[in-house]
């Protein structure tokens, strides 16, 4: 709880500073756009957070977005699939890939970093190959307006991705912090051996976290595709896994596993996105975008370990 409070204060401070420096920060357009982006990023960051809590990592998220986007466009426009089936397809593919990652990690005992690094290269290549390296999109094609409005419409004046994030975060909060399965995720991340000795199928628990991450990646993938409306397979979703990892770490997840919370991950996501917004609004050259992000994550983690050490000594 203390951890989350710290970066929550940082988040508020950042908002206040930005709002003072540039009142446009509080304009409805900007706020709506922020909510939209935080919604999308939050959803898949939660998925990656779960994997990190088990002591794993998933580097393939960004490439999965490219693959999902390309497949969605093809399924809807070229194969003419009804939208519910196309959407299901695009969610199932990342889940299946997650299952493969999970199996390789648990059964073949290959390190998650390696498995998903190969995934990162593989799926990006696959997406480009399928799309013939051409930009795919939805243009003004018809027949899937419902899906489009589900992904990029509004509900009670709020952008759909944000609404979805709230719902998903609520469910995942129950799963992670209140359910038996959630307890197992933490236990596996802290001491897999002792958890196995307690009669828990640790392989299944670990593998399932990759599948869950796949599910959330699939959902976010659909939202993202309609947000950009065109998918250039070589750049779509590039580096997005790093945003998620950074958000999770800022939010209190430890890459050693066994630590983290849904609230923390969401605050971390919001912090990163607002930071980007600040870079834009304050007219800082956008080439410095990543540098600013890197610096802030580093500072956040440093502050956290400093405070952590102090409380240990007392």
């Amino acid at each position: 709880m203390k951890k989350e409070l710290g970066i929550f204060i940082l988040l508020i401070a950042l908002c206040v500073v930005t709002a003072i420096l540039n009142p446009r920060f509080l304009s409805p357009t900007n706020l709506t756009n922020m909510a939209n982006i935080i919604g999308m990023f939050g959803i898949f960051s939660i998925g990656l957070g779960l994997v990190i809590i088990t002591g794993g990592i998933d580097l393939s998220v960004g490439s999965m977005f490219a693959l999902a986007g390309v497949l969605l466009s093809i399924a809807l426009r070229e194969w003419g699939l009804p939208w519910p089936i196309a959407a299901l397809f695009v969610i199932i593919v990342p889940m299946a890939l997650g299952a493969i990652h999970g199996t390789l990690v648990t059964q073949m005992r290959i390190q998650p970093f390696i498995v998903t690094l190969c995934g990162l290269l593989l799926y990006r290549g696959l997406a480009r190959f399928i799309a013939d390296d051409n930009t795919k999109g939805f243009g003004n094609a018809e027949g899937f307006e419902t899906l489009r409005s589900l992904a990029s419409g509004k509900f009670l004046g709020l952008p759909m991705p944000f609404v979805l994030l709230v719902v998903i975060a609520g469910i995942m909060w129950l799963v992670l912090h209140r359910s038996v399965y959630g307890r197992y995720l933490f236990a596996v991340g802290r001491n897999e051996e002792a958890t196995r000795f307690s009669g828990i199928n640790t392989k299944l628990v670990i593998a399932s976290s990759y599948v869950l991450a796949g599910l959330l990646t699939g959902i976010a993938g659909i939202l993202l595709s309609f947000y950009t409306n065109s998918i250039s397979p070589s750049t779509h979703g590039n580096f997005y896994e790093l945003y998620a990892i950074a958000a999770a770490v800022l939010g209190g997840c430890s890459l050693r596993g066994g630590e983290g919370s849904i609230i923390g991950i969401i605050i971390g996501t919001a912090l990163l996105q607002i930071l980007q917004n600040l870079v834009n609004l304050l007219g800082i050259p956008s080439s410095l975008n990543f540098a600013v992000m890197g610096a802030v994550v580093l500072l956040g983690v440093l502050a956290d370990s400093y405070l952590g050490n102090r409380s240990l000594k007392n």
């Binding site: 129950l174 209140r178 359910s179 038996v180 399965y181 307890r183 197992y184 933490f186 236990a187 802290r190 001491n191 051996e193 002792a194 958890t195 196995r196 000795f197 307690s198 009669g199 828990i200 199928n201 066994g258």
Partner: protein
């Protein structure tokens, strides 16, 4: 003038006063035993002396001069070496590399490690300890006992004048223990002081010049060499005398209630082990370290990935493919290594207690925290676990109390067959008696208890029968009437004993 004096040492942790005005002193060449119940503050006091913790109050005098010990380097500079219970060796370096870690001799122009000199320098220290291992043996090829000796050699190479040993014998065999004890006597005659923590009072009787007793973080008394006796120490430690230490068995009932057939472990794939146990029996498993006792029990509990076990409980055949199978059938294992296998030390006492049986405290997949807390509190109470509250991290409990948490995990679940691998390692005398009592009560309620132990006294007094293993096989089973140290040792080295019986009926 004493070599070391600690005066009025205080140390508080959140929710606990670990030490309150504790005094301790040691003369040159003296062996001081530090005893007390689990959580009495022994390790904490030594960690303060070793520079691991800072005291909240009190002073430390070395050679009569007040000293601040801020960190481990300060302690080393004052000639204080600390051999922790969890050894701090680097497995993939050789003996010489470990002794001189961080102080390696260098060759001239390129500043590389001087391989010849490092081994030459190591030899005298090994010789002083009477160790006949080559100095280029990798540490992971050595047994725990030898690794410990290497740590002692390292301490000597640092010119240690005072060596602290925190429960050094808890994972040693009988022979290794004797060897360590005679080494300690030798060191003390060479003028090295030793502070020795142990729960085995017989060892203290043998080597200590003086015993200092702690109780609840305070000095409870001192006993001079001549007056050291089991009863005297127990009385000071616990504040009362323990009348009934071992519980005698009643006639055990149903023979052949539990049958294990052809168990195999990945360590001895060619040996199969079968044995029978009666309902209500405590069957001890003795043997030398490495005889394959723990491995067989892991196979029985479904934890050996390469093998499956076939057992029969009360005429019902059961196949065990995974830990879950075993647990569903009421077969539980309390593993030997509590830190890596028994506990998730970064989780709370409550979360550890309920981990194996969590679905029972849940409805619709969601944990009911109230029920979970109830069970955890109940277990903490029955086992007298010393913890400020059930939300404390297990990491912060004393060694013996961690062991009680591991036991509590399984006792809440009504075992049919309870396998205990070194159940009282690191446990104080008072709690030992309580645990023996618990085992006996469980047995009388109809559980089968399989107990691996390297503590000869425990094996002799607790078991109804003793199965002895040697290199992956059971060499014989001894009835209570024939349980003697000589018989057990003979079977343990693979010789036959006339009165020994086969392990199963077929």
């Amino acid at each position: 003038m004493p070599l070391l004096e600690m005066k009025g040492i205080c140390k508080r942790f959140p929710g606990v006063v670990a030490l309150n005005e504790v005094d301790l002193s040691s003369d040159t060449g003296e062996v001081v035993a530090l005893v007390g119940e689990n959580g009495a503050g022994k390790s904490t006091l030594m960690k303060i002396l070793g520079g691991v913790y800072q005291p909240d109050g009190g002073e430390i005098l070395v050679d009569g001069e007040p000293r601040e010990i801020q960190n481990v380097e300060d302690a080393m500079r004052l000639g204080i070496a600390f051999i922790h219970q969890e050894l701090n060796v680097v497995d993939n370096l050789d003996v010489a590399g470990n002794i001189f870690l961080g102080r390696e001799p260098r060759t001239k122009p390129f500043h590389l490690i001087d391989q010849k000199k490092i081994h030459d320098d190591a030899k005298p220290f090994l010789a002083r300890l009477g160790l006949d291992i080559p100095s280029d043996t990798r540490l992971d090829e050595l047994s725990v006992a030898y690794q410990q000796m290497v740590e002692i050699a390292k301490a000597l190479s640092l010119n240690a004048r005072l060596i602290i040993m925190d429960e050094p014998t808890s994972s040693l065999t009988l022979a290794e223990t004797n060897r360590l004890l005679s080494l300690i006597k030798e060191l003390s005659s060479q003028g090295v002081s030793i502070i020795y923590i142990s729960h085995r009072l017989a060892e203290i009787d043998e080597i200590a010049n003086r015993a200092v007793v702690l109780r609840d973080g305070e000095n409870a008394g001192e006993v001079a060499r001549k007056e050291i006796s089991h009863d005297r120490l127990v009385n000071l430690m616990v504040g009362r005398s323990i009348s009934q230490f071992y519980v005698e068995p009643k006639e055990s009932s149903k023979a052949g209630y539990f049958q294990a057939r052809n168990l195999r472990s990945s360590r001895y794939p060619d040996c199969s082990v079968s044995f029978d146990a009666s309902q209500g029996e405590i069957l001890g498993f003795a043997g030398l370290v490495g005889a394959g006792r723990s491995e067989i029990m892991k196979a029985l509990a479904g934890l050996d990935r390469t093998s499956q076990a076939k057992v029969c409980i009360n005429d019902e055949d059961i196949e065990i493919r995974s830990a879950k199978d075993a647990i569903n059938r009421g077969i539980y294992l309390v593993p030997e290594d509590r830190r890596s296998e028994g506990l998730v030390t970064e989780m709370s006492v409550r979360e550890n207690m309920t981990l194996p049986d969590l679905p029972r405290y849940a409805r619709g997949g969601l944990i009911q925290f109230g029920r979970e807390r109830e069970v955890a509190n109940a277990q903490v109470e029955t086992l007298k676990v010393k913890t400020p509250h059930i939300e404390a991290l297990v990491r912060n409990l004393s060694g013996g109390n961690q062991q009680k948490v591991v036991l509590g995990k399984w006792l809440a679940m009504q075992p049919k067959v309870l396998i205990l691998d070194e159940p009282t390692r690191g446990i104080d005398v008072g709690s030992k008696a309580e645990i023996y009592q618990l085992m006996r009560t469980l047995a009388e309620k109809g559980s089968v208890i399989l107990m691996i132990s390297s503590d000869m006294e425990e094996v002799l007094h607790i078991s109804d029968r003793v199965a002895v293993m040697h290199e992956g096989r059971i060499t014989g089973v001894l009835d209570r009437a024939h349980c003697t140290e000589t018989n057990i040792m003979q079977l343990a080295v693979g010789q036959s004993v006339e009165v020994a019986k086969p392990a199963c009926s077929e």
